[in-house]
Every structure is written in C-alpha cells, then in structure tokens.
C-alpha cells in the first residue's frame, strides 16, 4: 500500500501539514536530486529486480510470521509476531540501508554516512556499504556508544568509522545533527542514509517505501495463516520506521493500527513520547511532533531503549495521529523490560528493547483483543547488558 507516499510525493513533500524540507540551502539541490533519483528508480523494473534479489539473498526475506502461542496465553489474545529480528544483522533496518545504498551507487555517490541510536541502523548501513564496497562513517551519541558497545564493535569490524558525538544529550538526536553537518560539508560525493522515517523530504517517504515490504509480507502471511486480517497491528515508535513499514500494509483495511512510544520513567518524568506528549515543531528538517520547551528548544528525551530515545517522530506518524487512522500509546522502561523477559521465557526469543515496548502494550491491554499482529523489529543481543543492569542481575 503506498497511498501515503504517493500522496506526499505528488504534493509538496508533506503528509497533511507535516513533513516539508527545513534545511540549509546547501542541501536543497541534493534533496531535489535524491527525490528525482528515487522516483526514477522505483519505476525502473531493473532496479526493483535487483533490490528484490538483495532482499531475498542478503537479508533472507521474507521474514517469518509466527504465532506466539505461549506468549498469547499471557496476553489474553492471539499474538502473531512479524520476525524482523530474523532479518540479516538482526533488525528491519537492513531493508532501508540496502535500498538506499543501492540508490546511492546509482546516483554515483562514493561515500556513505549515517547516524545511529541503538546501533542497529549503523550496523545495517555498515553492512550495506561493505557489500557495495563504499567507505562508511557512522555518527553515534557517546551515551549510546556506552550502552550499545556490541554494535560499536560490529560496525568497526564491518569497516565503518564510528564517530562519537558528545554534544547535547549525546544520543540519537545529536548524532543526526552531526551527520547533517557532515552532509552539508561533503554533499557533492556523499549520500546520507537516514535510518528512520524522519528528516527532510524525500527521506520520510523514501524510508517508508523501503520498509513497506514488512507490511506487504505480513498482510499476505496473516491471510494465509489465519484466513483473515488481524484486529490490531502494533509496533513500537521512535522515529517510527518499522511501524510505518508494517502499518502501510494495512492503511486501507478495517484494522486498528497502534504505535507504542517510549514512556521512559513515566510521562510526567523523562520520556521519548513525542506524539503522546509532544507539540508541533520542526526537528531535523521536518515539521512533526516534538518534545520542546516554550521557547522551541528541543528537550532531552529518555528511554532505556536507545532506538526510542528520540525527541521527535516521523511526519507520517504525526499525520496518522492527526487523522485518527493510527492510535498512539506508550510503555515505560519498566514495562518494556518486563515484556522483554516474558517473551524470552515464553517463546525463547530475546527481543530488542524497542519492540519490547510494543509487546508491553499487548501484555497490558491485549486481553480480549482477538488477533494481534506485533512487529518484532529486532533482536535483543545488544540490550542484554542494559537489561541485566536494570534488573541488577
């Protein structure tokens, strides 16, 4: 389903009033070039065939859809898991990075940069850059480097240079600022692989298009497995790429779409819930919902999950929330850690802390909800140390 992306592309780079292109003039030509290149590529059959081949052979798609029977008993509803944790490199991020780096080679770019929060997008970008033989620099907040050490080592082993960012809150938001500064400086030969459905147009549409395969597959799989559509589709939302990928498969169906944000220490304390508790503002090149103070300063978010520790959200989500097509809930650090343990104990799957927020919502509110499809966006090896620390194991 590409209703939203086509709508945005034909208009002004906006989803409803959200989105746009709030960037320095130096980047405008590159964004216009990227928009045109993507329009050409996505209607080029040869590009599509190449990308499909990579998704099958490198990523291992389609990823399974799996009925989590023992977890379902705990939740009080039938829970299907879309297993993006089984994609190569352990998360859905690779769907986007392979597509974008393939596009970059088509555009003649010779250098790849990226930001990363949890490190999953950094690893996926480093993997794609290695696959295509391009040099890669990944910007990562110093706080995130400390809590996702495993992924830092993985990126370096894949040949990427990992640059720590000390500014601001030293997390994902600041890593994006630093990547944008690099891009402003090296825009002529460099492609910036943004990792979520955020940033200036065309990034939110482009990343959403590349992640839409999650929802396309899941819809076909659930029809085959269950003979009908789910009642609810649930996914975690930081920037929101796995949720958009999954949701897009169901936009035109009579299915409830639920995004779960990070409530961190609680919505009255530090958190990352930009839709639930934010206001309209401009961050990283797009008008969306952000966490900010009265003067428009972006505030420091918090989540135990580095991937959800972000004070903004993709404009497509802000639009889905404003139209009511999707509903946004939140789960705290504590609830996420509990759900993490429940999935491990009931299904033998160690999830990433990001989708553990979606699982937490289902454990809390799932009773009697019928058939619930959850986006299991990544695996949790990277989070084992953080969970152990939080539980004092």
């Amino acid at each position: 389903m590409t209703v939203a992306s086509d709508q945005v592309r034909q208009a002004t780079g906006r989803f409803g009033e959200f989105g746009g292109r709030y960037v320095p003039e130096a980047l405008m030509s590159a964004l216009i070039e990227l928009e045109q290149a993507w329009q050409e590529a996505r209607s080029d059959a040869a590009f599509g065939t190449r990308l499909d081949g990579l998704l099958a052979d490198v990523v291992g798609r389609p990823t399974p859809l799996y009925l989590a029977e023992r977890f379902s008993e705990r939740a009080g509803c039938r829970v299907l898991l879309k297993r993006e944790d089984l994609a190569h490199t352990g998360a859905h991020k690779i769907n986007n990075t392979l597509g974008q780096v393939l596009l970059a080679t088509r555009m003649g770019k010779r250098r790849i940069i990226a930001e990363t929060g949890a490190g999953q997008h950094g690893v996926a970008t480093a993997t794609a850059a290695a696959f295509f033989g391009l040099p890669c620099v990944v910007y990562m907040g110093a706080v995130d480097m400390a809590r996702q050490q495993l992924n830092v080592v993985r990126m370096r082993m894949l040949g990427a240079e990992v640059v720590g960012v000390e500014a601001g809150s030293a997390t994902l938001k600041d890593a994006i600022n630093e990547a944008l500064r690099d891009w402003v400086t090296n825009v002529e030969d460099t492609h910036y692989v943004i990792g979520s459905v955020v940033g200036p147009h065309p990034y939110p549409a482009l990343v959403g298009d590349l992640q839409a395969i999650i929802g396309t597959e899941a819809r076909a799989q659930v029809l085959e497995l269950e003979g009908g559509l789910p009642d609810e589709v649930v996914a975690c939302v930081g920037g929101g790429s796995n949720a958009i990928g999954l949701f897009r498969g169901f936009y035109d169906d009579d299915v409830r779409l639920i995004g779960v944000e990070a409530a961190g220490e609680g919505l009255d304390k530090r958190h990352g819930a930009s839709i639930t508790a934010g206001t309209q503002g401009v961050l990283h090149g797009a008008l969306s919902l952000v966490l900010q103070d009265d003067e428009g300063l972006i505030t420091h978010p918090h989540s135990i999950s580095a991937g959800l520790d972000y004070p903004g959200v993709g404009p497509e989500h802000a639009w889905l929330a404003s139209t009511g097509r999707a509903i946004y809930e939140s789960a705290t650090d504590e609830e996420a850690v509990k759900a993490f343990r429940v999935l491990a104990a009931t299904e033998g799957i160690v999830p990433a802390l990001e989708p553990a927020h979606a699982l937490a919502h289902v454990l809390r509110d799932g009773a009697g909800k019928g058939l619930v499809l959850v986006g299991l966006s990544g695996r949790g090896d990277k989070d084992v140390a953080a969970v152990a620390e939080s539980l004092a194991l």
């Binding site: 960037v23 320095p24 500064r181």
Partner: protein, 260 residues
Amino acid sequence: MTKLLDHLLSLRAEGRKLLVPYLMAGVPQRDSYGPALVACSEDADAVEVGLPYSDPLMDGPVIASAGERAIRDGIGPIEALELTAGLGGSAPLIAMTYYNPIYRVGERAFCARASRAGVTGLIVPDLPLEESAGIRNAAREHGLAWITLVAPTSPPHRVEAIAKTATGFVYAVSTLGVTGARDELSAVASKVVARCRDATDLPVLVGLGVSNPEQAGAAASVADGVVIGSAVVKLVLERGAEGAASFLAEVRGALDALQG
C-alpha cells in the same frame, strides 16, 4: 525598502565595504553580553546576533558550544531577544535564529518581539526558499529585512529565485560546511558571489570561514562585505569585548584599504 537595506545601500554608495560581525546572545555572560555588543558595533555596519538553540545544525564547534553555554545560563532564543532589547550599539541588529523557536511562538509574534527588541533583519539558516513565504510576510509587516543564503550548490535558477526574496542583503556562503574558521578562503567564494551579482543589485556579503583581516580583504574585493562569526565569538570568549573589538578594528582597516 527596509531600513536595513537603506542603511547598507547608502554605505555602499560611499564606497565603504560592509563589515558584519556575529555575536552569540548572552555570551560571554548575561551581564557582559551588552558591553560586548556595544564594543563590536564600533567598526561594524550591522551586527548579527545569534539566538541560542539546542540543535544548531549549521554551526561548527565554536558557535555551537557558545550557544550551549548561553542555554546553560538559562538564556533561550526568546529570552535572548528580550535580553538584547535596548542594548544595541551604533550598528543595526540582525537576528540569526533556527526556525523552530519562530514556529513555536508563531511567525507574526516572533517578528513583533524581534522588532520590539530593536532587530532590523532576520537570518534563518534552516528555512529554504520553499518554506519561507510565511515568515517573509511577517517580516515585511514588521519592517524586518529578510536576508537570504546562497550556497555553492545553489544552481543559477535557484540563486535568482532566492535573491528575489531578499530585502536586506544576500549572504553568499563561501564554502560547503558549517560555521568555523578556515585557513584559506575558499576559491568557491568568488563563484558564488558572481552568481549572486548576476541575480541581484542588493549588497552581497561573504560568510562562513572568514576569520582574519587578509581573508576579509580578499572576500570584500569581490563582494560588498563580509560576515565574521566564529572568529569573533572565540575572541569574545577568550579575550572579552576589547579583544574582539580590536580584532574588528584590524578587519575594518583591511576593508578600508580596499576603498577606491
């Protein structure tokens, strides 16, 4: 015609090269910012005042950390405007701010507050032509000049469209990158200036990477003047208002030496 443009045009008509230093509002400290502003106005034709912001993605380390310092002292972008009111020295003030604080308080309300604070022009580095119609209208209503940025990557047709919207001056970004001193003034600068000249009769000032009197002289030999940011902010922090003012006097000398 805006007040700022009128002022700059009459100086240019006298053969004077324009000097616009940049200061971060609230730096070095709340009470020493005013004296720094007055001292730096002495040899300036306008002063650009940066409003502190949490996510300054066009700024290099010097200006970004100066902004962080102001924010740590409790000075946000709107507070910075209030702080600036009544402080101005002899030169007109231009506010440089990222867009979100403007969006947050509203374009009209922001322009009203800026105007009340004595600001005569606006630079918003993350608001390209396509997104700027609203703020340009609001600025016009409040008599504020709109200053546009042209980059080395701006093709001629964009330069033309951008220059058409300018009502203060055109800021020719001399190099790809963020703010900060450079060892050499980029050769790209004269190409960017030439593109601006083809598109407009408004004053064209070179900025980004201009950090000493020699570079200022070189830039002003092709353009109408220069904007100097990081070098001034660094001096204000390290050597105070007097250090920055004596540096600007040297730059003034280099610019005046060009006077025909």
